[in-house]
Symmetry: C2
């Protein structure tokens, strides 16, 4: 699925990716507000060369529309427990529309009170977390988001799946125009990466996974039947547990294991919640804000000045610039999408 | 400094550790409110077998009193930017008294509004983060804290110190009586661990550090002159950058590099800030709270049921129980403390 390794790729404009996504979802029967929100989500990932969250995701979205798992017309409902604890009930629809509903209110609450949380409740989440928080970062906030992923990760030292891939994204409103935003699975690899390796017929690097018998494997298919491992040993494992707790029980959503038990076996995302936290540096001290943002800029500059160091998201911004001239889509994927029943 | 490997250890009661700490600090000239708060902080670490943050720390505290670095009588001042953004100005005193001043207000704000932040400003931080957040966890909250550590960690791929050891602690109010609390450096090891290895004459495991020339080393002294490495490659490195940003520029405090430039070379802690964030699960949905806490308990139980899996903090709670009968202090350390000028 990586165009660099795919024999045939087709160049599409981002508008073409957007319209293909929207029209495919509408043809599958998804309500227009969701189809448009998902199209916006997918082109952002595709533009940044995040193939695992780009057009490739459309197959799973369509699958979950057709299987009846995702509500086609659920309109997200925003409520407030307090001025700084916001909630969007996604009504078992896809996440992008719910996120678009909640994030502007989160930004406003964080700018007013300095810190705020947003829980997206009962959604099918299939988007990239960096894209979910980017609007908050662009509004001048520091922000996190967390969601559970598919239940396929064993705790450090364990032998069977208990955690999701449980990604964490964090962003800071600088450097200007190209803010520092990271987004990584707390597993050694994202499940999407393992799926792409399987599709490409490539072996996994050692340390990514164990098989169903609990022993290490480099075979993607065996890994998908067994369990991925957390990154960074017991520290990554603790972070994965943290994500289960705060994107699950804290906000009243399912753990990844509970979501798995409810799965219908289609290729779409599992049910789950998503927690956003945003903070406004200005509220922590408006009079010193410029100096503090400059201190952060200096930190970024010093990191980049070390040979071999690359800031999180630099590769994505470079891809975003290139993508003004269009993006490369594997011909095989495009054929698969175009062959979907209409 | 690990009693298990020290030839001679002396058993002291926790009261004796407390009084020794307090009296040593008072004799060094530290104000009584600080001496008592530090004594409370040190016995908590010592009781949980956290030797690197236990009585061993007293040497550094005394050093920073005698060198004049830490303000001996600074009384922390609590202010509120908004109802959910709290700040304690530590006035360049030690952190424990500032934390004791701020955390009760943080708990109250989180219980009222669902989420709140507390910035401890301009403190000398030498305590264990798990102990800093434990009161919030025991009050029924989920909470984080973050602080920069000594600037001795190179970014992933880099060749020179830029980050502190930048620990992250997170806790959840369960399992009951023995809550899940993790606390780890975002470096492959804590600097305290490297110092203990140096004192014990032991080599470092591979992957912990690079020397001043940027190449890997297992010599603790060479590592202390060079740089530690982040845990978990670029993911741990991104988390370390995150801690620099939120415990530094976000709250108006120094980055670890800025703190290092201000250091006077004593063996005490660097100047810095500390950020707490606390969330109340009850505010995210009071009517479903019992079920959600039960969901979390099930997650913990399923993790522990896997052979080879141990929950964060279990070892500490086991030590805490044992420590009712006293704690083992290396005779060499005790002699060093008792030999301090009075």
């Amino acid at each position: 699925m990586n165009p660099a390794t795919e024999p045939d790729s087709v160049r599409l404009s981002l508008d073409e990716v957007h319209d293909l996504t929207r029209d495919t979802l509408l043809a599958a029967g998804l309500g227009a507000p969701h189809a448009f929100a998902i199209a916006r989500s997918i082109i952002r990932a595709q533009a940044d060369d995040c193939h695992s969250h780009g057009l490739y995701r459309l197959l799973g979205y369509v699958d979950s529309v057709r299987s009846g798992k995702a509500e086609r017309d659920a309109l997200p409902v925003l409520t407030r427990s307090t001025p700084v604890v916001l909630r969007v009930d996604a009504g078992r629809g896809f996440a992008p529309l719910a996120i678009e509903t909640g994030v502007p209110a989160l930004i406003e609450a964080a700018k007013t009170y300095g810190i705020a949380a947003l829980a997206i409740h009962e959604c099918y989440h299939f988007s990239a977390l960096w894209a979910d928080i980017e609007p908050a970062i662009e509004a001048g906030l520091a922000a996190w988001c967390f969601t559970v992923g598919q239940c396929c990760v064993a705790p450090a030292g364990g032998n069977a799946p208990l955690f999701g891939t449980n990604p964490i994204a964090f962003g800071w409103p600088g450097p200007a125009g190209r803010p520092f935003v990271f987004d990584f699975a707390t597993s050694a690899a994202a499940r999407g990466e393992v799926e792409l390796k399987r599709r490409a017929g490539e072996a996994l690097p050692p340390g990514w996974a164990i098989g169903p018998d609990g022993t290490p494997t480099t075979d993607p298919a065996v890994a998908l039947a067994g369990a991925l491992l957390p990154f960074g040993g017991h520290k990554g494992s603790a972070l994965s547990m943290m994500v289960e707790l705060i994107a699950g029980p804290l906000i009243g959503d399912v753990t990844s294991r509970q979501a798995k038990a409810m799965e219908n076996g289609d290729s779409g995302p599992p049910l789950g919640g998503e927690l956003f936290i945003a903070m406004d540096p200005a509220v922590f001290g408006a009079e010193t804000l410029d100096q503090r943002l400059a201190d952060a800029e200096e930190l970024f500059a010093r990191a980049k000045a070390q040979p071999g160091v690359r800031l999180a998201s630099e590769r994505r911004y470079a891809a975003r610039t290139r993508s003004r001239d269009g993006v490369l889509i594997p011909a095989r994927l495009l054929a698969e999408i175009r062959a979907l029943p209409r």
